[in-house]
C-alpha cells in the first residue's frame, strides 16, 4: 500500500500542472536532521528522497550489508547521508545502531555490522537519511525527470507558508490546492511525530510521579496540539502498535518544600512545545516546582547535554519501524548503553516488531522520558488533487499526485 502507485494511475494519470502547496508554519527548515515537524518533513520530501527509495539493500555476507544505489544516485550521496546521521548530535544517530563502518565497493556501499541493527531497511526511510535527487528540483521545484522512482506527474510544486487562517483563506480562494499542517480530523494515516519530555534521572522518583499524576495527555492534545494528534501514553505511538491505553495514574505526591527550581528547554520556534512548557509550569507549581522556561534553538536542544535540573522537550519523527523507533527514543532518553542489549533481544525474537512493542512497555518505567503526544500530518487537498497517498511516515507523496482536468 505504501509503495509507489504510479501503475495504478497509469490509465488515468495526467502529467502536467503546478501544485500550489501551503505549509502551515512560520518558516520552513528543510534540513534532513531537523525535519521532524510535519511541515518541515513535507518540505524536505519535495527535493529529497529517503535512502530506502534510492538504494537496494542486500546481505552479501554475514555481518555485512550492501547498499546499492539505484540509477541516477551516486554512492557519495548515500555515504554522505550515512555520515550525516552517524555524526549527528541527537537521537537519530541511534538509527545506525549496529553499523560499525562502511566503505565504497563496486556494488555500492559495504556496511560492516557490529551487531543487530535497528531495523536498518525501514530505518533508512527516515527523513534524516534523505538525499538528492528528489522528485522535484531547482529553485522553482520543477519535476525531476531522472528521479529513480520516475518523473512526477506534476510539472512543479510551489511552496508557501501561512498561518492556519490564512491557509484556510487561500484554500477557499483556490490559491492553494494542498494545505499541509492545518488542523484536520484524524484519519488512518500514521502519526509518528512525537513529543516527549526527557528529565534527568536525579529528579526521580518525585518528578516522574508528579508529572504522571498531574499531566493529562488528553488535555494536552485537546488544548495545545492541532489535530490530527493523540495522547502518547507509551514509548511507541499507536501507529507503530504501541498501547493507546493510558497508564495507571500514580498518587499525587506531596509538594516539595522548599520549592525546587527546574528549567524546561524547548525549541523556541515551536508553538506546541512552548504551550506544553507553559502547561508544565502551571501543573508542576502546586507540587513544589518552580519551572523556568528556556527557549533554545533546535540544534541546541539536540546537542546540549541537559543539566541536572533541566527538563527537555523533544519533538521527533520516529522511523516507521518499532525497533528503530524504540532505539531513537532510548537514545533521546540518554539510554544509549541499553541499545545493544535491546536490539539483540529484538533481533533474536521471531516477531521483532512485537518484541519491540513489549520491550517498550517494559522499559517505560525505567527510562527518564515521559511520552506526551503524537501528531500526524494534517493534509487538506482540493478536489482536483488526485491520488493523494502517504508514505510510511505519513507524509503526503507529492511525486504521485496529479491534477484532475478542469
Amino acid at each position: 500500500m505504501l509503495a509507489p502507485t504510479s501503475a495504478l494511475a497509469g490509465g488515468r494519470a495526467r502529467f502536467g500542472g503546478t501544485l500550489p502547496v501551503v505549509l502551515v508554519t512560520k518558516k520552513i527548515d528543510a534540513r534532513p536532521l531537523f525535519a521532524d515537524s510535519p511541515t518541515d518533513a513535507v518540505a524536505l520530501s519535495v527535493t529529497h528522497t529517503p535512502l530506502c527509495q534510492l538504494v537496494t539493500l542486500s546481505a552479501p555476507a554475514p555481518g555485512t550489508l550492501r547498499l546499492s544505489p539505484r540509477s541516477g544516485v551516486s554512492t557519495d550521496e548515500v555515504a554522505d547521508a550515512l555520515t550525516r546521521v552517524s555524526q549527528a548530535a541527537g537521537p537519530y544517530r541511534a538509527l545506525l545502531s549496529g553499523v560499525a563502518s562502511w566503505k565504497k565497493s563496486p556494488g555500492g556501499l559495504e556496511l560492516t555490522l557490529s551487531g543487530p541493527t535497528a531495523d536498518l531497511p525501514r530505518a533508512l526511510c527516515h527523513p534524516s537519511f534523505s538525499a538528492h535527487p528528489g522528485p522535484f528540483q531547482g529553485a522553482r521545484t520543477e519535476a525531476n525527470p531522472t528521479h529513480p522512482a520516475g518523473r512526477p506527474f506534476l510539472d512543479a510544486v510551489t511552496l508557501a507558508t501561512a498561518d492556519a487562517r490564512a491557509a484556510e483563506r487561500l484554500f477557499a480562494q483556490r490559491k492553494a490546492s494542498l494545505v499541509v499542517g492545518a488542523p484536520t480530523p484524524a484519519d488512518d494515516a500514521p502519526q509518528l511525530f512525537v513529543t516527549v519530555l526527557v528529565f534527568p534521572p536525579a529528579l526521580a522518583p518525585h518528578l516522574p510521579a508528579a508529572l504522571e499524576s498531574t499531566v493529562d495527555r488528553e488535555d494536552l492534545v485537546r488544548f495545545f496540539l492541532p489535530p490530527p494528534s493523540a495522547p502518547l501514553p507509551g514509548l511507541l505511538p499507536p501507529s507503530l502498535g504501541g498501547s493507546a491505553d493510558p497508564p495507571p495514574r500514580p498518587a499525587r505526591p506531596s509538594p516539595l518544600t522548599p520549592a525546587r527550581e527546574v528549567a524546561v528547554t524547548f525549541d523556541a520556534g515551536s508553538d506546541v512545545e512552548r504551550a506544553i512548557a507553559e502547561r508544565l509550569q502551571v501543573k508542576l507549581q502546586p507540587l513544589g516546582y518552580r519551572v523556568a522556561l528556556r527557549p533554545s534553538s533546535r540544534e541546541e536542544v539536540r546537542a546540549r547535554p541537559p543539566a541536572s535540573n533541566e527538563l527537555t522537550l523533544q519533538s521527533l519523527l520516529l522511523p516507521p519501524s518499532p525497533p528503530a523507533a524504540l532505539a531513537v527514543l532510548l537514545e533521546a532518553a540518554g539510554q544509549r548503553a541499553r541499545l545493544p542489549q535491546v536490539l539483540s533481544t529484538i533481533a533474536a525474537a521471531p516477531e521483532p516488531d512485537a518484541r519491540a512493542r513489549e520491550l517498550a512497555q517494559e522499559l517505560l518505567p525505567q527510562v527518564p522520558l515521559l511520552p506526551l503526544a503524537t501528531r500526524g500530518v494534517g493534509v487538506t487537498a482540493a478536489r482536483d488533487v488526485q491520488h493523494l497517498s502517504r508514505d510510511a511516515s505519513g507524509l503526503p507523496r507529492l511525486d504521485e499526485l496529479f491534477l484532475a482536468p478542469e
Binding site: 493529562d216 485537546r222 488544548f223 527550581e261 504551550a275 507553559e278 502551571v282 507549581q285 523556568a292
Partner: protein
C-alpha cells in the same frame, strides 16, 4: 575712633543687621511658600492620577461591555456550553482579547474552570480562583486582582484591573473575566502625566516602574484594591534648585547691598564729617593761637552749614576782639613800659639834679676850696654813675625793643641744650641735673633758644643764691609739643607776682633789669610756643617752654 569711621561702621552694621534679620526670615518664608506650592501641585497631580485611573478602569469596562455584546462572544459562549467544548473555544480568548486592547481575558465555566485563557493558555481546564473570585464582586465592577502569567523563571503573578461579565446560553453560564495588566506602560503613562517616578508595588515587590528620580522625593501612595498599590515619588529637586537659586540671589543682593551701604556710608559720613573735621582743625588752630581761621562751608548743609557759618562768624568776632584786645594790651603795655621806663629814668635824674644844684650853689658862693673840690668830684662821679645807669637802661630797652625776628630751622632740642649746659660746672653750692630725651625736634632759632635757656638757668641760680641747690634741666615731649623745663629748689614765686612775672621791668632782684623773662616769653611766643611758671613741690619753681613738635618726617 574718628567720626567718619564710626559713621561708616554704623552704616555697615545697620546693613549687615538688616541682611542678618531679613535673609533668614525671607528664606524661611520662601521655603514654606515653595513647599506649599509643591504640595498644591502634587495634590493637583494626584487628582489627575485619580482621573487617569478612573479612565483606565472605564476603558476596561467599555472594552468588556463591547465584548459582552459581540456576536463573537455569543458564538464562543454557545460552543463553550457544549461538552466537551470544541477546539476553537480554547483559543477564543486570545482572539477576542487582543483586538479590544485587553491583555487579560479568561472564559470560565460556572465552576471556575478555565475554558479559554488569553493571558495564560496553559491554564486551560484548570480552575482560576483569583479570576473566578471577581465574578463574586458587584456586577460590572472593575476590581484589582492578581493574575497568573507564564514568566521565564516560572509562573508569576501580576496585578491587573479586571471586570467580569456573565454570558448565559441555555441553562449554562459562561463567565468572561477580562481586563488590563498594570505594567510599566501604565506606570510610564502616569509618570509622563505627573513627572513622578511611578512604581506599581505588590507584596512581592515592585512589579513595574517608570520614570527617573533625582534627589529627595515626596511619596504618595494610591491603593489598587488589596493586591497592589501605586507609589508616586515626586522629586523635590526643582524645589531645592529654586531655593538654592533664590538663596544665591539673596546673598548676591545682600552682598551688593552691603557694598552699597559701605560705599554710601563712607560717602555720607565723609560728607557729614568733613565740616566737622574742618571745624575741629580750625578750633585746634585757634587754640594754637592762629586767629581768623575760616572753615569752608561749601560741603556742609543744614545744621552743619549753620554751625560752620556761626563758627566763621565767631572766629571773625574773636579775631576782631583779639585784635582790639591786642591793640589795647599793646597800648597798655607800652604805657606800662613808658611808665616804668620813665620811673627808671626818673630815679637817676634826682641824684643828678641834686648833685648839679649842690655844685651850682657852691659855685655861687665862690668857694673853691677843698670841700668844693671834694664835693664836685663826688657829684661828678655820682652824675656819671647815674648817666651810665641811664645808658644801661636805654641799651637794655633798646635790646628788648629791637629783638630780631627768629630764623627758624629744624633742631634737635637736646643738641641745643647739651652744649650750653656743658659750660656749667658746680660752684657755690649749685649743681646741675641735665635730663635730655633724644629725638625731640622743633623748628626754631638756635641763638634765641639758647638765650632763653641761659636766662632761665640764670634765674634759677639767682633764686637759690646764696644757699645753693640743684638746677634741673629736662628735655621731653608730648604727642604735640616739645618741652624744655628748668627747675630750681628756691623759695618759689609769690602768688601776687605770678600774674606779672613776664612783664618787662618786673623783678624781685635789687639789681635785676626785669627784662630777662619778658625776652624769654617773647621768644617763646614768636616760636609759636609758650612759657609757663609752675610750682614745684615741696618748693621751687619750674619754667616750662612748650614748642610745637616737629614731626620726624
Amino acid at each position: 575712633m574718628r567720626l567718619r569711621w564710626t559713621l561708616a561702621l554704623a552704616f555697615l552694621g545697620l546693613a549687615a543687621l538688616q541682611v542678618a534679620v531679613v535673609v533668614p526670615v525671607a528664606l524661611r518664608n520662601l521655603s514654606a511658600l515653595l513647599i506649599r506650592q509643591q504640595e498644591s501641585r502634587i495634590a493637583q497631580l494626584m487628582v489627575a492620577v485619580d482621573a487617569e485611573t478612573q479612565r483606565f478602569q472605564a476603558d476596561v469596562r467599555r472594552a468588556m461591555d463591547e465584548l459582552e455584546k459581540s456576536q463573537a462572544l455569543e458564538d464562543v459562549a454557545r460552543d463553550a456550553a457544549k461538552s466537551p467544548p470544541p477546539p476553537h473555544v480554547t483559543t477564543a480568548a486570545s482572539q477576542l482579547m487582543t483586538p479590544r486592547g485587553l491583555d487579560v481575558l479568561a472564559l470560565l465555566d460556572d465552576e471556575g474552570r478555565t475554558l479559554s485563557s488569553g493571558h495564560l493558555p496553559a491554564r486551560l481546564g484548570e480552575p482560576s480562583d483569583p479570576l473566578f473570585a471577581v465574578t463574586k464582586a458587584p456586577a460590572r465592577a472593575v476590581v484589582a486582582t492578581n493574575v497568573e502569567l507564564s514568566g521565564p523563571t516560572g509562573l508569576v503573578t501580576a496585578p491587573a484591573v479586571v471586570t467580569a461579565r456573565a454570558v448565559d446560553y441555555g441553562d449554562r453560564r459562561v463567565w468572561v473575566v477580562g481586563g488590563v495588566r498594570l505594567t510599566s506602560v501604565h506606570a510610564g503613562d502616569l509618570s509622563r502625566l505627573t513627572g513622578a517616578k511611578v512604581d506599581i508595588v505588590t507584596d512581592a515587590g515592585v512589579v513595574a516602574s517608570a520614570g527617573e528620580l533625582a534627589g529627595p522625593a515626596t511619596l504618595r501612595t494610591v491603593p489598587l484594591g488589596e493586591v497592589a498599590r501605586l507609589e508616586l515619588r515626586f522629586s523635590s529637586a526643582d524645589l531645592l534648585a529654586t531655593r538654592s537659586e533664590v538663596l544665591r540671589a539673596f546673598l548676591l543682593l545682600a552682598a551688593f547691598g552691603l557694598l552699597l551701604s559701605v560705599t554710601a556710608g563712607f560717602w555720607v559720613s565723609r560728607r557729614v564729617t568733613r565740616p566737622v573735621e574742618a571745624l575741629t582743625d580750625a578750633a585746634a588752630q585757634i587754640a594754637a593761637g592762629t586767629p581768623g581761621v575760616k572753615v569752608d562751608a561749601r560741603g556742609a548743609s543744614g545744621e552743619l552749614k549753620a554751625l560752620v557759618q556761626t563758627f566763621n562768624r565767631m572766629t571773625d568776632d574773636l579775631k576782631a576782639a583779639t585784635d582790639s584786645l591786642v591793640a589795647a594790651e599793646r597800648v597798655a603795655a607800652w604805657e606800662e613800659v613808658a611808665r616804668r621806663l620813665a620811673h627808671e629814668i626818673r630815679n637817676p635824674l634826682t641824684p643828678i639834679r641834686m648833685s648839679l644844684e649842690t655844685l651850682l650853689a657852691l659855685s655861687a658862693r665862690g668857694q673853691a676850696d677843698e670841700k668844693f673840690k671834694s664835693l664836685f668830684s663826688d657829684s661828678a662821679r655820682a652824675v656819671l654813675e647815674e648817666v651810665d645807669r641811664l645808658k644801661r637802661i636805654v641799651d637794655e630797652f633798646s635790646h628788648f625793643a629791637r629783638l630780631p625776628r627768629p630764623q627758624p630751622a629744624a633742631l634737635e632740642l637736646a643738641q641745643v641744650v647739651q652744649p650750653v649746659m656743658a659750660l656749667y660746672a658746680p660752684h657755690d653750692g649749685l649743681t646741675y641735673d641735665v635730663q635730655l630725651a633724644s629725638g625731640v625736634r622743633v623748628m626754631g632759632d638756635k641763638d634765641q633758644l639758647t638765650q632763653v635757656l641761659v636766662n632761665l638757668v640764670k634765674n634759677a641760680e639767682e633764686a637759690m643764691a646764696p644757699a645753693g641747690g640743684t638746677v634741673t634741666v629736662r628735655v621731653s615731649q608730648t604727642d604735640t609739643h616739645a618741652l624744655l623745663e628748668v627747675s630750681d629748689q628756691g623759695p618759689g614765686i609769690a602768688s601776687e607776682l605770678k600774674a606779672r612775672l613776664f612783664e618787662p621791668y618786673v623783678t624781685t632782684k635789687p639789681d635785676g633789669s626785669g627784662l630777662g623773662l619778658a625776652i624769654a616769653q617773647r621768644i617763646a611766643q614768636e616760636h609759636g610756643g609758650r612759657l609757663q611758671a609752675l610750682d614745684v613741690a615741696p618748693k621751687g619753681t619750674c619754667f616750662r617752654l612748650s614748642l610745637p613738635r616737629l614731626s620726624e618726617r
